[in-house]
């Protein structure tokens, strides 16, 4: 079965996904404005963006084929281990990406 070529299936699927995009992103905006969230919730959820970014980045660097991949030949891991301290020192996104990609490419080619 290939879902991609079934136009009706894809149209309904994408339509539903669009609605889900709006509903999840606006979920709490749609509550009446009188409803107040407890302040403790507010403080806690301010950590959500940082934790979400970590949970998106970490599997990309530290897993392969749905398995943890922490090994000497994980070139991406080495690239990150070198580039992040350089970034902490120099504060430049360009330097971060440049150094990381340079380390990765070097390890890949040798």
């Amino acid at each position: 079965v290939n879902g991609f070529t079934d136009w009706t299936y894809m149209a309904i699927a994408i339509g539903g996904l669009t609605v889900i995009t709006f509903l999840t992103r606006s979920a709490f905006f749609l509550l009446p404005s009188k409803v107040q969230l407890p302040p403790a919730w507010d403080r806690a959820l301010r950590h959500a963006p940082a934790c979400a970014l970590a949970a998106i980045v970490a599997p990309s660097v530290l897993t392969r084929d749905h398995q943890p991949f922490i090994a000497w030949d994980n070139h991406q891991l080495w690239a990150v281990l070198v580039a992040v301290p350089v970034f902490v020192r120099w504060r430049s996104m360009t330097v971060l990406i440049g150094v990381g990609m340079a380390v990765f490419t070097l390890l890949r080619l040798i």
Partner: protein, 244 residues
């Protein structure tokens, strides 16, 4: 005034656009990687363009891709997208005090535009404000999210059209990860968020094989919980230190 946007302060709008400067690299690379992945999974280009423009959620698009490829039951596809998007529900709870009193159409637009990176930037700048819903905040928010939206879509289209031209071994996905780290690292330089970030990272790796990207959700919830505990602990110590 317009139907879809609240009144914004123009200087703040420009400040938001400028603040996105270096981060557009992250969004651009991430968008290209997502576009390439979608086409390489076998989705026809026209469908891929519609998919990208309407769904506008990279992680959810990548998570539902293998399901759509095999024609998985629609409820499974939708529940997967909802779970991957749960972090936006958390974001909307935090952002609510800035937007709750606006007309529904404006709330929906603000929610639709609210992405991981611009929201992190917004909180860094306006997270501690006393007043909520000012034209300055709206200006900054729509500057950030507008750039995010535009760059993301241009990049996805480039990725979709380029398809397999950039070989996987070049490590474009690493460039995207590095760029995300460039936003994450400055947020994690105090102990409470750092503790949460470490826990979220470890759990997301250990739970990577859990179906429907549920591991992502568990990792975020656990990370937030640990950050809160660390925050309570550090403020207690601060109080105790002050009293002695």
């Amino acid at each position: 005034m317009s139907l879809l946007f609240p009144t914004v302060d123009r200087a703040s709008l420009r400040a938001g656009v400028r603040a996105m400067g270096p981060i557009t690299v992250a969004i651009g690379v991430w968008g290209i990687v997502t576009g390439v992945a979608i086409v390489n999974a076998g989705m026809p280009e026209v469908t891929a363009l519609v998919f990208s423009f309407t769904v506008f959620a990279g992680a959810a698009q990548l998570a539902t891709l293998p399901l759509l490829a095999v024609g998985a039951p629609l409820p499974v596809v939708w529940v997967t997208a909802m779970l991957v998007n749960t972090r936006f529900v958390f974001f909307s709870a935090t952002a609510r005090r800035y937007f709750a009193h606006l007309p529904v159409a404006q709330r929906l637009v603000a929610g639709y535009l609210n992405g991981d990176l611009p929201f992190a930037m917004f909180l860094r700048h306006h997270g501690d404000d006393e007043a909520h819903g000012t034209p300055q905040q709206y200006g900054y928010f729509f500057g950030l999210t507008g750039v995010n939206w535009a760059v993301w879509h241009v990049a996805s289209v480039v990725g979709i059209l380029l398809g397999g031209l950039a070989p996987a071994q070049w490590g474009l996905d690493l460039a995207a990860s590095l760029a995300l780290l460039g936003v994450l690292v400055p947020m994690a330089e105090r102990l409470p968020p750092l503790a949460g970030v470490v826990v979220a990272a470890v759990l997301s790796v250990l739970l990577v094989d859990v179906p429907m990207r549920l591991g992502l959700l568990v990792a975020i919830v656990a990370g937030v919980a640990v950050a809160v505990v660390a925050e309570v602990g550090s403020s207690r110590r601060a109080v105790a230190g002050g009293a002695s």
